[in-house]
Symmetry: C2
DNA sequence: CTATGCTTCGCAAACGTTTGCGGGCGCAAG
DNA sequence: CTTGCGCCCGCAAACGTTTGCGAAGCATAG
């Protein structure tokens, strides 16, 4: 702040007007000689452009907002890392905001980001501030939803292929011979919760197995959910031979629940999780998972946003598209064929 | 961006000058009547101040930068969450940047943040761009270092009490009767790596046990380090009876290494980790740890910065203080007395 | 030699605020 | 009724850029 060497100083040192200085540093707008000369002077003086003034004039800060529920969730973590890295490569800075899945906090966050005149927004929406977001998007600030769809309003969205992922996971277990497959899944108010349940159900039905609601436990994205679900499912007299934990926060609780019962994976019970968390690979036995592709999602979200940032021209709401990232089954060691 | 209702519009609607509008919205600078009247008008029009223009004039964006190495590390995660929450409560937004512990990337990051005219900076330094940071601090943009100390230059810093933490952990194991304690620790180039080793060593020597360098394995903050160290230490003929993993990234690798050897914790070997990671509590057996107080560190860092942000007056470099957060031993189930 | 075109640069306005300064007005005191 | 004092408010400058417009310089073509 003290070190405020401004364009005027550069201009003065170079004996030109402020405007030529500006153009020289922009490049290609002056003669080659003054261009290099002024750039050298600017470097010597340690000139750094004032982003505020520039943004005020050009109506473009190079900031984009990234709004997520938390950082404990592995998907959000890679989202944050990938988005930040990708956008930085294009000269954008990322403002990270955490909403704790709280609509009020989300509303405030969006407002503040709008005040900062961010150029764009990547958000995992709570589902409550649709009009606010849509207004932003209409106003020329591209908004890309990620991980969760906003049910109320049309916006560009990149999602995981949850129906297919859950389907593939369930079918894998079926192919191994399992017939009683317990499902621990997220709340049915969320897109992912619903879609993963439906994928599970479809796989069962295609295999000619009747869907049994008492085999599924839905809850919040927390370890406690996993523990509770685990206990509930294991206390049945016809204990499932496999558990599909389609909610990766709960996985920790499930692991604990299985240990409580002294059940060994995969000998006593097969275990399939959702999302590839860093620890899973190192776990013993290494956990099989269906990877929803958080990394790819993050990349696509960043790329889509970048595209719209660059083509400042047309933000055609009509084109509001929905992208799905393919899920991938990773077979490791936690599932085994059922012995008959 | 389209929705650009400016102060002029408010003034016009209220039939006053722009300056009165500004003052009315600021509050306390006009008559009570015009104040409420204009505030109502502003609300109706949906006026939102342009942070860029304001920042340009007042030389204060309400932005602070937060610079960390990554988000996989649990300390950084809580740092990000806590700092962002705390600063937001005071009206600041957080720009999150990730350096991957890479000095070049760090240099670029700091420069860009300075360009954005952030009001302050919280950073876990790589240790390489000291002059840049010091210049910022001198220039009136308070910089607070966290987690790591910057060896080269004096700055306000909040650290974990690593020497004491490692000492306490080691002594705990000693009290349980362990004599051969393997240590897996971070690189000796880092503050934490050195300090944790020295704490371990001091505890041993105070107990009258000769420090044995072959019992320590130092490596990067990665699971691979844990695995390698684990293998090395377990292959000794006089296998340690306890492992102190003073580097929480490595813990995952250690767990895997122990499983490989089919060693049970705590029956076959005691295990003490550093940092309380979310999974540890759920692990079976629940892992004992020395918690370095990442949460408290984050809070203190945020508070210190806030203090200096508010008292815009004096950034006395002389006061550059170093704060230490006490470590806390959490006894769970992974350590047991050695049977003689 | 004049007309024309291109390149290179300066002038000044603009972006949306905040704020020092001074003018107008009302009200109390003289 | 005048003077003085305070309270509100408007004028205008400033923050550091970018950019349209026009002027100057120079070369080339007619």
């Amino acid at each position: 702040m003290q070190n405020s060497v401004t364009l005027r100083d550069v201009a003065r040192a170079g004996k030109v007007s402020v405007s030529t200085a500006s153009r020289a540093l922009a490049g290609g707008l002056t003669s080659k000689s003054t261009e290099t000369r002024l750039q050298r002077i600017a470097a010597e003086l340690g000139y750094r452009p004032n982003t505020l003034a520039r943004g005020l004039k050009t109506r473009s800060t190079r900031l984009v907002g990234l709004v997520v529920h938390n950082l404990a969730n592995a998907s959000f973590r890679v989202l944050a890392e990938v988005v930040q890295q990708r956008l930085r490569a294009e000269g954008y800075q990322v403002i990270l905001c955490i909403t704790a899945d709280n609509p009020d906090q989300e509303a405030e966050t969006i407002a503040t980001l709008a005040d900062q005149r961010v150029d764009g927004l990547i958000i995992c929406p709570t589902g409550h501030n649709g009009e606010q977001l849509a207004a932003l998007d209409r106003g020329g600030t591209p908004v890309t939803c990620v991980v969760r769809r906003h049910e109320a309003v049309e916006m560009e969205t990149v999602l995981a292929a949850d129906p297919e992922g859950a389907f593939a996971g369930t079918r894998y277990l079926l192919e191994l011979g399992h017939r009683r497959i317990g499902l621990i899944v997220g709340r049915q108010e969320t897109t992912s919760g619903r879609e993963r349940l439906s994928g599970y159900r479809r796989a069962l039905e295609e295999a000619g197995i009747r869907f049994n609601p008492t085999l599924v436990h839905a809850g919040r994205y927390e370890p406690e959910t996993g523990l509770a679900g685990c206990r509930q499912l294991l206390d049945r007299e016809d204990r499932p031979t496999a558990l599909f934990v389609a909610n990766h926060e709960s996985s920790l609780g499930v692991l604990r629940g299985l240990a409580e019962r002294e059940l060994l994976v995969p000998d006593d019970i097969s275990l399939l999780c959702y999302e590839d968390m860093p620890g899973f690979e190192w776990q013993r036995p290494a956990l099989s998972v269906v990877d929803s592709g958080a990394h790819a999602m993050a990349e696509l979200a960043a790329d889509r946003l970048l595209l719209r940032l660059r083509s400042h021209a047309a933000p055609p709401a009509a084109t509001a598209h929905e992208y799905r990232i393919g899920a991938r089954l990773i077979r490791r060691q936690s599932c085994r064929p059922v012995v008959s």
